[in-house]
């Protein structure tokens, strides 16, 4: 039975686990009850009613939270610049060289670099608000920052970008466990990163030349827009309870 209880979020267990187990000792659960417990655990994760003690961490002063919220706006701005950079790339002139045709997307560089810098700003915001006990999440954000700056050098540094986005997904999941990320924001980031990996695999096997490879690159880039929204949006709603859902 304790395995089923572990499906509930930590904050919920801290508050209700002892009495819940006492109830189940008094009335051994039927098959329906076990299903009901799983459904209750899913609900507790999707619509948390109990605030995490870590979220109430008084070690994050209000001034720092305010800075983090401003950095959240930067994350949202990145969600505009990022797809804009891909649109500019798509509008670039077609250039022919000895290896065939490609689009010259150099005009998109300022937008691309700007979006990456705004993502870094968002990650700094999460470093400010994430509880010190969320070691994995903080380490992920910290390592992702230089990787994003390397990606900012240009799209050809995509492998650093892929690693950086993977680390943002780790940050989102650990942030959810710590109570600073909502389940939906965390789910969105994980789906986006997995989606990009899938697009990358499909693109690598189907793209026949640089033009078609570029098309897959653009699709993958667009699939990452929700990551900026989640990183920025999570910071902007910080200070309100996740339990507001």
């Amino acid at each position: 039975m304790s395995a089923l209880i572990r499906l509930y979020p930590r904050a919920w267990r801290e508050r209700y686990e002892a009495e819940f187990l006492t109830l189940l000792e008094a009335r051994p659960p039927t098959l329906y009850d076990r299903f009901d417990i799983v459904r209750g655990a899913l609900d507790a994760r999707l619509h948390p009613q109990v605030r995490s003690a870590e979220r109430e961490d008084p070690s994050v002063p209000e001034g720092d939270r305010r800075i983090a919220r401003v950095l959240g706006y930067a994350g949202i701005a990145g969600a505009i610049l990022w797809p804009l950079s891909f649109l500019v790339m798509l509008a670039g002139p077609v250039v022919y060289d000895g290896d065939g045709a490609y689009r010259d997307g150099s005009a998109a560089f300022p937008f691309f670099f700007g979006a990456v810098v705004l993502m870094v700003a968002g990650l700094i915001g999460h470093l400010i608000t994430l509880p010190r006990t969320a070691v994995v999440g903080r380490a992920s954000a910290l390592i992702a920052i230089p990787l994003f700056l390397l990606l900012g050098m240009g799209p050809w540094m995509w492998y650093f970008g892929l690693a950086a986005f993977f680390l943002v997904a780790v940050l989102a999941v650990t942030g959810q466990r710590a109570g600073t990320w909502s389940p939906w924001a965390s789910f969105t980031v994980v789906c986006s990163v997995l989606g990009v990996m899938l697009i990358g695999v499909v693109g690598a096997s189907l793209a026949t030349d640089r033009m078609s490879g570029g098309a897959f690159f653009v699709v993958a880039g667009m699939a990452l827009v929700p990551v900026w929204l989640a990183v920025g949006g999570t910071l902007m709603r910080d200070g309100q309870s996740v339990a507001a859902a």
Partner: protein
Amino acid sequence: MNRGFDELGRFAEPSLYILVSLADGPKHGYAIMTDVEAVSGSPMGPGTLYGALARLERRGLIEALEPEDRRRPYRLTALGATTLEAQLRSLSGFVATGLARVEGKAK
């Protein structure tokens, strides 16, 4: 159901049963569960019970008392009592209207 109960979604009905159960005095989880089963005639799962208890507690309609052994009793707050009364009056009006229409049609 009024707006306060509407926002409880699938927990609206179990929450109403819990409030009715606590109307005659504090009870812990197991006592609420057995009382609700006796009143409603249908079982309430433990996940549903605690999903509803958490929502009611968060909205200040019930409050937890000091634990007795490992069992924690809950009691209705003043806000909970007012909300329950308003909800029951609303339902009784609905029932009266429904019955009047059904009886009028039967004549």
